[in-house]
């Protein structure tokens, strides 16, 4: 019986940990290579700028919202020496294996919209995973999760967006109707601009 209880506790801990740190990669190495090709396109592919991507700093004090185009600028400016290829840099930073120095992030604030996680939302996520966020703050319509509350602060909204991102969702901004929604995508390269998905997808 004692063994059973011990195993149950271990299992609960592991599951809880999985909810915070999704075991799946946010971006695959193949997609990182696709991003590199996409950034060379002219006219610019909207996936390079409209897909919100979130990266972290070394102390985990801030989250930075950015996009593929800005990460390419960052790489060219500061990380070319540390990473031989852009796609490897992208793979490491988007999967949160590589984290930015705070001093560098301040210099490069142009490319990184900084925010701190909202404690209430983040604790809810840590306890209940993305399901906890969905149950408390979202409604499902038209294949997407919409924020149901209009009273969220910017920081709360940013934290919710970050939680969706690390679970494989892309943020959809409808500036006109003033709504944010989250679409589950096969990969970050599946952002829904009509016809712009790369060849091998």
């Amino acid at each position: 019986m004692k063994n059973f209880i011990f195993l149950l506790l271990v299992s609960l801990l592991v599951n809880c940990n999985k909810k915070q740190n999704p075991s799946q990669e946010i971006i695959s190495i193949q997609d990182s290579e696709e991003v590199e090709n996409m950034l060379l396109e002219s006219p610019p592919n909207p996936n390079s700028t409209f897909v919100s991507v979130y990266v972290l700093n070394i102390n985990d004090t801030n989250v930075y919202e950015t996009n593929f185009s800005n990460l390419k600028h960052l790489y060219e400016l500061r990380y070319k020496q540390s990473f031989k290829t852009f796609n490897y840099f992208l793979y490491e930073i988007v999967n949160q294996k590589f984290k930015l120095k705070i001093s560098d992030a301040k210099k490069d604030a142009l490319f990184l919209k900084s925010f701190q996680l909202d404690n209430k939302i983040w604790n809810l996520y840590k306890k209940g995973g993305i399901g906890g966020i969905i149950n408390n703050y979202c409604v499902f319509e038209k294949k997407r999760y919409f924020l149901s509350s209009k009273d969220l602060t910017l920081r709360e909204q940013q934290t919710i967006s970050y939680c969706f991102f690390i679970n494989g969702y892309v943020k959809i901004v409808n500036d006109y109707s003033n709504t944010n929604s989250y679409l589950k995508c096969k990969s970050l390269m599946h952002y829904p601009t009509v016809g712009s998905i790369p060849k091998n997808k």
Binding site: E41, P43, P44, N45, P46, T49, F50, S69, H73, L77, K106, K107, D108, A109, L110, F111, K142, K143, R144, K150, L154, I172, V173, N174, D175, Y176, S177, N178, T179, N180, S181, L183, P192, T193, V194, G195, S196, P198, K199
Partner: protein
Amino acid sequence: MAEQTTSTGTYQSPYKFNGKELDAETGLYYYGARYYDPKSSVWLSVDPLAEKNPGLSPYNYCTNNPINAIDPDGRKIIFVVYQNNKSLQYIYRNGNFYFDGKRYNPSIESVSKSMYRVLAVYRKIEKSNDKDLKAILHTLEKSETKHYIYSNSDGENSVHPEYKSEIDPKTHNNINGKLDFTQTQFALDDKDGADFIGIGETDMTTVIHEMRHEFDYEIGNMTDDTDLHNQDNPAEIRAVHLENKARDIEHLKHRTKYGGIIVPNKLKSPPNNKMPEQ
């Protein structure tokens, strides 16, 4: 102009030669800036850019070669269509989109439903008596900055500005340099926002709302954008103010909300409401 479709899905348009509207009373085609007489094949006024082509008559159209040449007036609103893994750029000028110098003819080509719908809005602006809407459209059309437009299938209606980065000599931080281009995504089928209950929303209201943001980026007037999607954001108040001009044209009730209710005086006279010189 109301959008029409046939059972085969081909768009029908009252626009005739070169997609321009034929005025039944005068027999002239309206080109936004001037009128064209199809019988005599001449313009009834001088091309505003005539001084750039001193060797040609200012009454010419497309340097006398309407098939291959493009009218230089307006070339920086670009609708990007993705087909067979290729991106095709349709450039807007004077009420038409052109690809490789050839006019997109919505009555016989079904290239992109969204492009057709955006084009229909631009033509409504050209045909309207609203000087502000026309001036903003013409500013974007004649801009040195490229304004790309894309079709989105899942609800994204928004504008992204891309700046060239520069290093601040004092702080050595990266700062925004000159505007490089803007990108706008339209999901024109996504129409059921809570703000519009009882007042309606159309392609024109959507396109003009986002056009205000494009214009503000174009003239460097987005520094007061708070990034908050609410009724207090000056950038959004300006966009709703301009949207209401579209609502006047379409005989719709004015929008008064952007999330919450916008202070009426601010909506009537928005902060930093810069307009093109006319």
